[in-house]
Symmetry: C2
Subunit: 325 residues, 2 copies
């Protein structure tokens, strides 16, 4: 029998929570009787609203936790990250908060609103051509050239531990849960949340959710190693990663019961439903676990207490109106 | 010197709160550092999210408070209300909760989604032609014919007291406020909230907000009596009432510092901003006080603590996408 040492434990998440106190939003937990009724008899669903987190997504948690651990020298030189989405805003915001210069590598065709938001947080933007250039290589080149610390989107113990504080807060606030659902892109959120939840509640069921088109996790867990897929054309843009993370994979493998999938139409229906019924703007990636919950494929949830991480709310108005049409 | 006896006092709101405990949602209070920064130096803004109330608006509070006071006979016979909007859903939901039959008089051209939602709560729908028939007369006829109690949308002490529980909860949760903003249609919400807030905090500034097109309150307060305007073509459909209420008017007159107005464009911008920046779906009527807050016309809010009632979140997807376009 071998014992695997996982890259993070509950204590890491607790340390992250202490760092984030008063800095990250302690996001509200929302419940709805009509959701509960729709999902099962006596079921209670608790939505952790990371769409109401600073920067509009959970990403600020991990970014701040990483940046807070920089040495004074590293802080003075600054950080670099590559992302066209929530990670960019999370890093830019955390950097501003800590007085650290931030450079974000974004594709030339990134939505103007995301570029503007990232710049508004004070970050310098370096653009690249998505079709001909490799963003990771560019970010590494910028890092080496300028002596910057590269902040990866998920594959770092401090990032993972930071994201786990979302589950820590949820469990602190609502008490024991039977089941926790979270979306999966690179796996930072789920690995952190699974670590926190399992640490606090050894019997909790943990389920990750991705789209059918972006099922790199499902495939990887099936064969027991990280499978690489072609760029998935899913509406859930936080799930367009092509492969599970190196550090996040073993954590999910060890702690999570299953990774399940939903269709693109189910995701859109969940976004609509969250917006029009629950009055919450949740981006497609964040709506993925809700899509599974509403599908009925989780089986009998009678009298179960279910937690769901709504991971973010950054969605362009034109994408939103396409979904609503 | 004459002393005016107002139709409700703080004790009425407190009694309503006791009735609503465990029945109405204790809606979350949301804050945002970027809002605070935009509004003033050291300003703190507290949004009371009645868009997350049952039925999607504050209306459930007043309706339930009224229906809970019915005699056993009245409960058995049932209630009738006229509304094409949030009051319909509030009454239907409160009636279902209390096992009271409900009839709702709605125009033939009411949005299908609102008719469906009201019917889904178990209410019987009676339709009328908005252009040729008088809904109030029809509701009164139905009431007399069937022996039903008519539940008015705002002009009733129990309705007003019920709506006031929103401000009561807000002040209980966040502590003292310097200023409270609420939207004004018939005045049920503002009169109740003003009563609660003034009762708890004698020095709080209370400001009502309506649109320039639906400025019956502004006009009425100026001349000191209820002015009737033509049907106002405002996007804020909760403000399409033509005249202040008979009971709500003296309360607002006595307790509220001013009723201020915003333009249609300012309302749309506030809806967009609440949705895209705060991730909250708030209907145009609910966004009206936020439009004023963002306009800068409230003057210097340095170090002030400001409460805002986000009254509801029921908006049709096509209206929403028009606003977002």
């Amino acid at each position: 029998m071998t014992t695997m040492v996982l890259p993070i434990g509950l204590a890491d998440v607790e340390r992250a929570a202490a760092r984030l106190r008063g800095v990250a939003n302690r996001t509200p937990v929302v419940t709805s009787r009509s959701v509960d009724r729709r999902v099962g008899v006596g079921t209670r669903v608790f939505f952790k609203c990371e769409n109401l987190q600073r920067g509009g997504a959970f990403k600020f948690r991990g970014a701040y936790n990483r940046l807070a651990a920089l040495t004074p020298d590293e802080r003075a030189r600054g950080v670099v990250a590559f992302s066209s989405g929530n990670h960019a805003q999370g890093v830019a915001l955390a950097a501003r908060e800590l007085g650290v210069p931030a450079t974000i590598v974004m594709p030339t065709d990134a939505p103007a609103s995301k570029v503007a938001a990232t710049r508004a947080y004070g970050a310098e933007i370096v653009t690249y051509d998505r079709l001909t250039e490799d963003r990771e290589a560019i970010a590494r080149a910028v890092a080496t050239e300028r002596g910057l610390v590269l902040v990866p989107p998920y594959d770092h113990p401090l990032i993972m531990a930071g994201q786990g504080t979302a589950a820590l807060e949820l469990l602190e606030e609502v008490g024991p849960l039977d089941l926790l659902l979270a979306p999966l892109g690179g796996g930072g959120l789920l690995s952190g949340c699974a670590t926190a939840a399992r640490g606090l509640a050894p019997d909790i069921r943990l389920i990750g959710v991705e789209t059918e088109l972006s099922n790199d996790w499902e495939q990887s867990l099936r064969v027991g190693e990280r499978v690489r897929i072609s760029p998935p054309p899913t509406i859930a843009d936080g799930m367009r990663t092509q492969q599970p993370g190196e550090l996040t994979f073993p954590v999910v493998q060890a702690l999570v019961e299953a990774v399940l999938t939903v269709s693109e139409d189910e995701v859109k229906e969940a976004v609509r439903w969250l917006l029009l019924r629950m009055k919450l703007l949740v981006e497609p990636t964040g709506a993925v676990p809700v899509a599974l919950l509403l599908s009925g494929r989780l089986g009998d949830l009678t009298d179960r207490r279910v937690g769901v991480i709504l991971s973010g709310g950054n969605v362009d108005p034109d994408v939103l109106c396409e979904i609503l049409a």
